[in-house]
């Protein structure tokens, strides 16, 4: 039996539900059963995740209770959306160094990629610190699941939810291309942070991307920013595959 503990913010939900669904169908990883215990980090006893510079002891207790062999994390992940889902008064765009031929908004101020990267880095400080606290607190393997790419503009407009009504003006919702570029920049930062902390990183497989880089429709969640349990299932199995060499069969 492989046991693990999952922690995260909103994107952990699709992973948890995916894991439940796999369990419901009696799926195994190779010849082994697996069991995941998932915890939402905004939960009452787990927040703040860092207390006096160390991982919240309640989180450590959850890991211990689960008898976890590894930790699965899905921290943050919507920083790119917070910055770019709607355009500001001064529209912006940027050249993505990894894909410089992606189109640019002709009416936008073109910012250097460094501006986008350092801005995202600042918004990810809490996530980065939490990841470091996990790494410092446990010697178990840790894997971070790449946050899903943005959902397309039409989906944002169709499912604004009550929160969006106050701020969304359809003419100001950013292009799919800009939001994809923001997500790519964010994903690169996540990957770098994980590499630095010796944390495994599970990237989103190609089949989950639509042609324009947004999340493929079959993986859309119920709102404008999240993926669904099908995505969760796939990422759970991918994570297990990535960690296979590090996992010892347990009771």
């Amino acid at each position: 039996m492989i046991r693990f503990a999952g922690f995260g913010h909103s994107h952990i939900v699709a992973l948890a539900q995916g894991c439940y669904d796999l369990a419901g169908r009696g799926e195994r990883f190779g010849d082994q059963a697996f069991e995941g215990h998932f915890h939402y980090l905004y939960g009452e006893t787990l927040t703040p995740p860092i207390i006096e510079g160390k991982l919240n002891p309640n989180i450590i207790e959850k890991i211990s209770e689960a008898g976890a062999q590894f930790i699965m994390l899905s921290l943050g992940g919507n920083e790119h959306s917070a910055l770019s889902v709607v355009q500001r008064q001064e529209r912006f765009d940027f050249i993505l160094g990894e894909a410089p031929d992606l189109p640019l908004d002709p009416d936008a101020t073109i910012l250097p990629e460094a501006v986008i990267r350092e801005t995202l880095r600042e918004t990810m400080e809490e996530v980065s610190a939490t990841l470091r606290a996990f790494r410092d607190a446990v010697s178990l393997p840790i894997i971070h699941i790449e946050p899903p790419p943005p959902l397309p503009r039409e989906r944002v407009l169709d499912h604004p939810g009550e929160f969006f009504h106050t701020v969304i003006d359809s003419t100001r919702v950013s292009s799919n291309c800009l939001r994809y570029k923001m997500w790519r920049t964010q994903a690169k930062l996540y990957r770098e942070i994980c590499e630095r902390l010796d944390v495994f990183y599970a990237p989103i497989p190609k089949e989950f991307f639509a042609e324009d880089g947004t999340l493929a429709p079959f993986a859309w969640g119920k709102d404008a920013t999240h993926a669904n349990p099908q995505f969760g299932e796939h990422m759970i199995l991918d994570a297990l595959s990535l960690l296979a060499t590090r996992l010892q069969p347990g009771g």
Binding site: V85, E90, I110, V167
Partner: protein, 374 residues
């Protein structure tokens, strides 16, 4: 004994009364500033690293520190600093020499285009040789670099054309120059980026005449686009970090500062509305009865900066009660907005947080947050 030129000297001209008897930290070597400005005057600052203190003081004091190349509203306060937004009026970085300043105005108005104007440091990393530290990891392509440089030059032009007061801190005389076209670099090629070659780069150690000539040409160019511009010159008290001359760094440092000080004296005598402010004398003179250098004997302590700026404020800033009230209002406005994220960005971030909370509530309560496959 009859009267002589020294018999009725004012206090400021007498060492015993102006220096020896002055309480520690009270030294004030300014007699009368040739002009003053108020809180509504648009002030541009540039120069060597000490110039950053001037900008910081003006911003925090509620003065009208001109920023023509602001960060986009998505950029948070920490990122603004690492990307050098608002450190100076525009993102030109440190300008150490008179030649570099002249070069900036010439480039901004398209009168000079250096031959060596980009350094490629690896795949997807391009540095601006004239501001190599302006942002982490440079630019990702020549196209991005050129777009940003155009915007930067426009911001520089806007600054020169709209400023009321330009404060320039002269820092160095040693600089590295391209043998091809005379372009000067803020940092020697090969140190932060680029490749140093004695065939293409040479040391230039500016003399008094050269500094005077550069600054005269700069002021002329500035007044072509802004006839009313007033200029305050000061010499950075920060010693050279290293010298390329074959001599002790202290000797080089004193030489550089001496050249700059003499050049300032000549410039203030020759040019109208050009003033000198004695930062160097307060900090590096060693006569303030305080050691204003940090342990590295190079960095200036906060106390030293505060002393310099208090003398500056006393003599150069017009602080009538009405003007002080305006300044206070501007100061409050600055402190309430400077370090906060853009309100709209905060609104979207909070909204997403709410959405994320909603998502979390969607975990199936029937399943005890546990899933197992067996």
């Amino acid at each position: 004994m009859g009267s002589n030129p020294y018999s009725k000297l004012p206090d400021y001209a007498n060492w015993r009364r102006a220096v020896t008897r002055v309480a520690p930290g009270e030294l004030d070597p300014v007699v009368e500033a040739p002009f003053r400005f108020d809180a509504s005057s648009r002030v541009m600052a540039a120069g060597s690293c000490f110039a950053q203190h001037i900008g910081r003081f003006l911003k925090s004091g509620g003065y009208c520190y001109l920023v023509t190349e602001p960060a986009h509203s998505i950029v948070g306060p920490k990122a603004r600093t690492s990307l050098n937004y608002g450190v100076y009026t525009a993102r030109y970085g440190n300008i150490y020499t008179s030649r570099q300043l002249l070069q900036l105005i010439e480039r901004a108005y398209g009168r000079f285009a250096p031959h060596e104007d980009i350094w490629q440091e690896g795949e997807g990393i391009f540095l601006d040789p004239f501001r190599p530290n302006i942002q982490p990891a440079g630019f990702n392509s020549i196209r991005e670099y050129e777009i940003d440089r155009e915007r930067h030059f426009k911001a520089v032009r806007d600054a020169f054309e709209t400023l009321d007061v330009f404060i320039f801190t002269l820092g160095l005389t040693e600089t590295w120059r391209s043998r091809a076209d005379g372009a000067v670099y803020p940092v020697c090629p090969g140190v932060v980026g680029g490749v140093f070659s004695p065939e293409t780069h040479e040391l230039l150690n500016l003399g008094v005449d050269e500094v005077v000539s550069d600054m005269t040409a700069f002021v002329r160019r500035l007044r072509e686009v802004n006839p009313a511009a007033r200029v305050i010159l000061t010499v950075s008290p920060v010693p050279l970090v290293a010298t390329a001359e074959p001599r002790h760094v202290l000797v080089s440092s004193v030489y550089s500062k001496s050249v700059l000080r003499v050049a300032c004296e000549i410039l203030t005598k020759r040019l109208k509305d050009v003033a000198y402010f004695p930062s160097y004398e307060i900090i590096a003179g060693g006569f303030a009865s305080k050691n204003y250098f940090a342990a590295d004997k190079r960095s200036v302590t906060d106390e030293g900066v505060a002393h310099v700026m208090s003398v500056f404020e006393r003599h150069f800033i017009d602080n009538t009660p009405e003007k002080a009230a305006i300044r206070l209002a501007l100061q409050l406005l600055h402190t309430s907005s400077a370090d906060q994220a853009d309100p709209e960005a905060r609104s979207v971030a909070e909204m997403l947080k709410l959405m994320c909370d909603e998502e979390a509530l969607d975990i199936d309560p029937q399943q005890d947050r546990r899933a197992s496959g067996n």
